[in-house]
Symmetry: C2
Subunit: 712 residues, 2 copies
């Protein structure tokens, strides 16, 4: 991180922890944003100096007002600009003159309104650069810091949220108000709450790094509509997870698959930006959430509870039905229902009535009161086979809801294992739910939600225990040759490589390509065939033809020199009759690759995430099942292997049902070379190696066809 990023980190300190705030453009008119902002800060009991700036007013809300920010005699840590967009740049200029480095620009009317707004935003950026200012916004709701030392609500949220350990960053301002309202009802608190709007200067990435270091923040939440710099986002998430162990949870909207008609390659059409985003998030350890409910379901679990060390969960319920539903969900989420020790079984048997189920899920029976819940929780939570407890309650007439809620709290506080609760219902169990919420026990209306949450927390814990993998460094002696080939093709004004060029390129990168020769006569074809060894394949070479088979340009399984001679003539005349205009360079003769399993590997350059590598089993698996996996380059060896294993068709390679194990190492090697190549040569836009023929283990794999697209 250098230059401006470092500056942002320094300036963010005063955005969140200012001693004094100037509200630039404050006014007295109720129902306006400037008014709401000023009163928000006032009502939020900001622990510092409030300085309204408002030309023409002596005082606002009883506080002395200044004509210009430069008129203020005190030092100003934070400027909050609420002037209309047309004059916001002047306010920012004055902030610069006053020496204010930390600014929040609430004002709307920028990039979101079109070309003029884009220009205004550019102007803001230039001023910020001139004065080393960092700003959040424009077109945002503002920032909140609940730390009682600061207590800053510089936003037009109706009220200050409760303090807590969740840091929330949102690109959408409107969503923020709904989120605050939702969180209030669920008793969820925040450490920092930021609406960053158009992110013209400080982006989500800068804010994430700030939250990484923020002591009040344990969980980082984002709502994103657009990922500007995917690689920076991935890096930030990795740094946060590795350095602070904090989970990063993101809603990324815009899942709808955009038309992929523009893609030249198979890989291009398979790798929609949403699927790439899914893969990239997973690769970086980011937990992607579908909606606000899922986001906070997970957030409270991470914020309130330790991470489970295994996936073995115990369920305690006073109703069979919800117990079964929870068990179904646990199995679906890949959890294990803990098998209790004999001691636990003994304790449960002693404490519970005969009709109770003392196995997991434990049913304490509908007439259970707090003592039975207590006994069951105490027994189960101390069992070393149990690494998390799910407590379900349905309100029966004899259920002492509040007492049970207190028992849950006690059990969770006494032992270091995660405890989650589902008191099913609403008003009737409301007081119990409030007790749970106040004591930071994650509570969910549906017991099923607990399984999802437990599984996510468990997998995050696993990730923390993993050693991060470094991308593989490999020597590519042929790299200068590769550059020459690409430069030459670019000079020819082509947007794809000729087959012979593409094969040369792969050869330079050490891919397993078959020996081959370009024959320009039937006689040469026969000689080439003798040289490479039978059987051979003949393919037309013409810069005017991309799909060779369609015009009769390919002949497989040629077994003698004489056959090759005849095939040459057949190919050329077939192509000439299909495409009389096509310029023919000759016929490419290669040794035919033995039969094997066909896979596709490919690369596409994503607008946000850069080079993305694809793997899939060929043919029907790609076409019908879209059974492919993606990873952002560069890849580590383990990651490459993971990509292959991720595909559902992996079993085909792994030798399922009596099939022989295939050369997976060979595919890993090819993926790593492709990764290396895609990083080294940004001029390669998309490419398919399709098929890569994979032989049995130890026998390698071979590139059977390749297409390389270059240029923008």
């Amino acid at each position: 991180m250098g230059g401006r990023s470092e500056l942002h980190q320094k300036n963010l300190e005063k955005i969140f922890n200012p001693q004094s705030v100037a509200i630039i453009g404050a006014n007295k008119k109720k129902g306006t944003v400037p008014f709401d902002i000023l009163y928000g800060i006032l009502k939020g009991e900001f622990n510092g100096l409030i300085l309204p700036v408002s030309p023409g007013k002596q005082h606002i809300a009883g506080i002395k007002a200044y004509k210009y920010v430069t008129d203020i005699e005190d030092a100003v840590d934070l400027g909050v600009i609420v002037f209309p967009s047309t004059v916001a740049h002047m306010a920012l200029e004055q902030c610069g003159q006053k020496g204010i480095k930390s600014v929040v620009i609430i004002s709307a009317g920028f990039r979101e309104v079109g070309e003029k707004g884009v220009q205004r935003e550019q102007q803001l950026l230039e001023i910020a650069r001139k004065y080393d200012i960092s700003f959040i916004g424009p077109n945002c709701l503002g920032v909140i810091n609940t730390d009682p030392q600061v207590s800053l609500n510089a936003s037009f949220a109706r009220q200050m949220p409760a303090a807590g350990n969740i840091g929330f960053l949102s690109q959408s301002g409107a969503l923020c108000t709904a989120v605050l309202d939702y969180a209030e009802a669920k008793g969820i608190g925040f450490s920092k709450f930021v609406s960053f709007g158009n992110k013209a200067d400080i982006s989500e990435v800068g804010l994430m790094y700030y939250l990484m270091r923020d002591e009040q923040t344990k969980v980082i939440l984002l709502y994103l509509e657009e990922v500007s710099d995917g690689r920076a986002l991935m890096q930030a998430a990795r740094d946060i997870i590795r350095q602070s162990g904090k989970p990063v949870l993101i809603i990324k909207s815009g899942r709808t698959r955009e038309g992929a008609s523009a893609a030249a390659s198979h890989t291009g059409s398979l790798a929609s930006s949403d699927e790439v985003c899914d893969a990239a998030f997973e690769q970086a350890g980011i937990i992607r959430c579908e909606n606000v409910e899922e986001l906070f379901n997970l957030a409270i679990a991470f914020s309130y509870m330790p991470l489970p060390v295994s996936n073995r969960i115990a369920i305690i319920t006073n109703a069979g039905g919800p117990g079964v539903l929870a068990t179904d969900a646990a199995v679906r989420e890949g959890l294990e229902l803990a098998a209790f020790s004999e001691e636990t079984a003994r304790k449960l048997k002693k404490a519970l009535p005969n009709t109770a189920n003392i196995h997991n899920p434990v049913d304490v029976i509908g007439d259970a009161t707090a003592d039975r819940y207590e006994a069951a929780m105490e027994a189960v939570i101390q069992d070393e086979n149990v690494d998390g407890v799910c407590v379900i309650l349905t309100p029966q007439s004899m259920t002492d809801i509040d007492a049970i809620a207190h028992q849950v709290v006690q059990a969770a506080q006494k032992y270091k294992k995660p405890v989650y609760a589902s008191f099913m219902g609403e008003a009737g169990v409301g007081s119990g739910i409030r007790i749970l919420q106040e004591n930071k026990i994650p509570h969910y209306f549906l017991p099923e939600s607990i399984s999802r949450v437990f599984s996510a927390a468990y997998r995050f814990g696993q990730l923390l225990r993993q050693k991060p993998e470094q991308p593989v460094e490999m020597a590519i002696p042929g790299r200068p040759e590769a550059e020459t080939i690409l430069r030459q093709a670019a000079a020819e004004g082509k947007n794809y490589l000729q087959e012979s060029q593409a094969v040369q390129l792969l050869k330079a990168y050490g891919f397993p390509v078959q020996k081959g020769h370009l024959a320009t006569s039937a006689e040469e074809a026969a000689q080439s065939a003798e040289r490479v060894g039978f059987p051979v394949v003949l393919k037309i070479q013409s810069e005017d033809i991309l799909h060779k088979s369609d015009v009769g340009g390919v002949r497989l399984g040629v077994k003698t020199g004489e056959e090759a001679r005849l095939a040459y003539g057949d190919i050329v005349s077939s192509v000439q009759s299909h495409l009389p205009e096509a310029r023919i360079q000759g016929v490419y003769v290669t040794r035919q690759i033995p039969e094997g399993t066909e896979v596709i590997i490919g690369m596409k350059r994503d607008a946000s995430f850069g080079p993305v590598i694809l793997f899939g089993l060929g043919g029907i698996f790609v076409e019908v099942f879209r059974d492919v996996s993606f990873r952002v380059a560069p890849l580590g060896r383990q990651e490459a292997l993971e990509m292959i294993k991720r595909s559902r068709a992996y079993k085909v390679l792994a030798g399922a049902r009596g099939r022989r194990l295939k050369d997976v190492d060979g595919i890993v090697d090819a993926l790593l070379r492709l990764s290396r190549m895609s990083v080294a040569h940004p001029e390669i836009r998309e490419m398919d190696i399709n098929p890569l023929i994979v032989l049995d283990e130890g026998e390698g794999c071979f590139v059977a066809d390749v297409k390389v697209f270059i240029g923008g």
Copy 2:
């Protein structure tokens, strides 16, 4: 429907609409079930006569009490038994003597406590049969009828739910209390609410038929832990949907896949009871829900709104982010975002500010008040390209939430199109949500839920418009022969058929099997081969061998008589060396089927649903992807075709990517024959036709291998 089922329908009338209720076993002790039941009826303001029966009490709750039910001089319509299980049978006997035909047995302590309870339950049934009594329970929470003419809360629910159009039937009593609490908070009302417990006499099926005819009920909801009679359930759902147009929504818990190790066939191991349940529900038009939230999300949409006539939805929002999330969800659910007419666009342009988005999703912008929402709703809902509207609101400081809620109500009431709302948040938008709830506008916290609900309602509407299909009747002249084969195999004490027997069976049912002969010498093998025509396949025939290939018992592609002669010897000696003990009947010689696409069809008898037919593409598709579909037999032609299309690999048969279209009609025919056979011969337990080789369209398909398992 005959006998007892008819009786149940008659007696249910008085269970739900009694003029007088005897509470048999009532007592004065607070916190006991008998007390709660009596007070429930009292507090529920039952519109009839309440008659406590309690030996030893003169009066209870100020009402005259009787020693025995037979002491009551008035007619008693309904008996509610709350005595302990040990004496419940005596109470039921007295009900019989008194002439009470309609009974609810709340008492627990029956089947759910083991063998003794099973006997007690049996005793109850015998008494019920003797007196033509129908009863709900035992071990249940009771029944509720909110109809103001009746107002009966004969249950230990804390209070009477609001009146509404949802009929709710639950196997779990405990879940009921949670559901009532949840429903109260969401303002959801019920027509009938039944906890049917052990369903010893009246089952869910009888209750469903009652709700079909019940005028107050528009939607039927079930929570089931176990399907006792799957075919009856399917028939009930079909009758309800066809005759009353009411949707049937079911949570069926116990999804966890049981161990399938006991299955003999491929089909058996693929068809877990949960997957069969999924398929059967779909086939019967039942909407299966995962959890209580989904159940009521759908229920209120069906209860409050008309069915959409197309899948074209319009979204109106005051916040971009939630609009995008809703759009994502709509696309995911297969909905279409309506393209507005020019007139609508004009109206929206006129009514909304410049920065608003007048295309779908319509963004009325954060500062929108009720008038802007009104204009947008009026414009959009009248557009003939729009068949449903989703209104999203996020609470901004200027949002007049209640006024907008009223506008939504007005728009929905004025036009006949479905309108759904998502006011995002909790406390802050609470008053608006209440207005929506009171006026029966389906409201959801997440806009995404609306897409799911709209899609389900649309698909249900489609189902109602479809003509129901009848199972195909086909003449099977070979049926007596099939019976003989099965009888013979059973007499031999086998649990599977020899290949030659199985082939004969299929031939009798008109399946496309290849001609073949059993050769008992090398010479005979050569002759048989000449007779059936080359190439031929030779397979060992031995009742001791199930997997022929594993012991070298199969030879493919035999092209001459001489080859056949040699192959005979090879096969026999290979089998003898692998399995010296095996009794060899000979070698079966058939013409080899040409190459084609391999599919598997099969049958398994499910404990709840009876014969279930499976279809899938062979090999890897079944093994790795489990890409199979199921239908309960008997099948209609359209259903059989649907099964094939349902498999994701259907594209392979449909000639995707330049492949030739396969003979799908041939598969349909084979599925129908299999369906017919599975219904006609209950002694067939499981069977696989694997593979069935499918040739190009018009060229048919052929059974290449078959396994038939018989007996229990």
